[in-house]
Amino acid sequence: MSAPAPERPLPTPTRESKPYWEGLRAGKLMLQHCVRCGKVRHYPRPVCPHCFSMESEFKPAALTGKLHTWTVCHHPFNFFFKAQAPYIVALVDMDAGVRINAPLRGVDSAQLKIGQPVQLQFEPVTADVTVPYFAIA
């Protein structure tokens, strides 16, 4: 049995996703929109799957959303997070029209209900990387 090294996994921004990660660092949720048909898409990618345009722009989105579902991780996928377990991972229907999967902090999982309002928060991890988490709105 070989235990995974307890290093915090960090995102590796791509050409497509760079504006999203830069947005988080600046305290904004930047989402990719198609320039032609205007539809939002997430995660960032080169082509709009609705109209096939390759022209896109990133726009700041509302930080509010509603709880779609959740889990409580007791046995983390990456053992770096073992010290934090158990922790809630929430899947949220953002009012901006996409879903975000991120930790939900400051609430007991027994209190959770589908549809509960939550708000996106920002957690700086390194000088370059900020990751999102949720709090009850």
Binding site: Y43, H68, T69, T71, C73, F77, V89, I100, N101
Partner: protein, 377 residues
């Protein structure tokens, strides 16, 4: 008009190693050991194999099969990178190859040191999908939680699957988990990713499995009772790399595969005598039973109760113990068990008069696959 591929191909050979936790053998050696057994089971020589679909990633590649089995004229080498949906989806590719005459006998094989070697988390991170959206464990448990909140599914339903398939594993004998499991022990096992407890999660184990797919007319002349492929299909969900963005978290690729697989087979859920359902988690069985039309959405929990999925139940399920109790060779053991049932070679776990059976695969971010096999002998 019948589908062009219906019953044109057959599962002609099956082979598996011992399923263990702990081995001195490499994944490749386990894969080749199972392959040799499957080829011998069909009554073929390794030199008869002219197509290979090795499980990817991990294990052997075409070059290994040529070098070890002395293949002289390999006509087809494929990977089907669909995680747990791979093995059943590979049957579709193999069936197309033998039905069209591109190949005579295609070998589908898996070898894994999932306990002794790299753990499953390592394997998952090798998947190309992982580079797109590094989410995995959470969305599946989240899907189960949503099902519980919307439909009242409970851990008692999950436990029924774990406990019943453990009984089946004990009947099989070549299994990792060979002690009875009670509902109380299930409920007392440690939480992994709520609502999944330890006994809701499939095993990390060592082992190899292989099958041979041959044209039906060729297979008829071989050693074992003929088991034909009535229907087979793979399906890919919307938002395949990111479960989070999928319009309905509970719609897997199996929704699409089931539609096409049933249509090809010309049968429906009522015609199925035995089902081997991909059981990476207990809950994924419940949801697949709904998708497959054995019950309505939301009714999968109550459906599995009251002995229905036992050997003598209305729908005997995972009659070998599955990934939860037999071993994790990415579901190729499910195909092997279904073939064994239809040949009437399942020993103490034999489902009486099994004629038609169904097997599914469920992989990674929600890919799905389904095959419907028939005892044609």
């Amino acid at each position: 008009m019948a589908h062009a591929l219906r019953e044109k191909a057959a599962v002609s050979g099956i082979g598996e190693t011992a399923y263990t936790r702990g081995t001195e053998k490499s994944g490749l050696a386990l894969q080749l050991e199972a392959s040799l057994k499957a080829i011998a089971d069909a009554g073929l020589s390794p030199r008869d194999i002219d197509g290979v679909v090795p499980y990817f990633p991990g294990g052997g590649i075409a070059e290994d099969f040529i070098a070890n089995l002395g293949l002289t004229d390999l006509a087809l080498s494929l990977f089907v990178p669909m995680g747990g949906a791979t093995c059943v989806a590979a049957i579709q590719s193999a069936a197309m190859a033998v039905a069209t005459g591109v190949c005579k006998h295609v070998l589908i094989s898996v070898g894994r040191t999932g306990y002794s070697g790299a753990r499953v988390s390592t394997r998952l991170q090798q998947f190309p999908q992982f580079a797109l959206a590094a989410e995995f464990e959470a969305p599946i448990a989240q899907g189960a939680r949503r099902h519980m909140e919307l439909y009242g599914t409970t851990p008692r339903h999950f436990a029924e699957i774990a406990v019943t398939t453990r009984q089946h594993a004990i009947l099989n004998g070549n299994v990792v988990m060979n002690k009875p499991l009670t509902v109380e022990e299930h409920h007392a096992s440690r939480m992994i990713a709520d609502p999944f407890r330890l006994f809701d999660c499939s095993l990390e184990s060592d082992g190899g499995a292989a099958i041979v797919i041959s044209a039906a007319d060729r297979a008829r002349a071989l050693k074992k009772p003929l088991v034909t492929i009535m229907g087979v299909a793979e399906g890919h969900p919307e938002s395949p790399a990111s479960i989070a963005q999928r319009p309905d978290l509970l719609d897997f690729g199996l929704v699409k595969a089931a539609r096409r697989g049933y249509a090809m087979a010309g049968v429906g859920p009522k015609d199925i005598d035995v089902a081997e359902i991909y059981d990476c988690f207990t809950f994924t069985v419940i949801r697949q039973l709904e998708i497959l039309g054995f019950c309505k959405t939301g009714e999968g929990g109550p459906f599995v109760m009251d002995g229905r999925i036992g050997i003598n139940g209305d729908l005997p399920l995972n009659t070998h113990g599955g990934l939860l109790s037999q071993g994790h060779v990415v579901g190729l053991n499910h195909v092997i068990e279904l073939t064994r049932q239809l040949r009437r070679e399942a020993g103490r776990a034999q489902v009486k008069d099994a004629e038609v059976g169904l097997v599914t695969g469920y992989g990674d971010m929600g890919d799905g696959s389904l095959a419907i096999l028939r005892r044609a002998a």
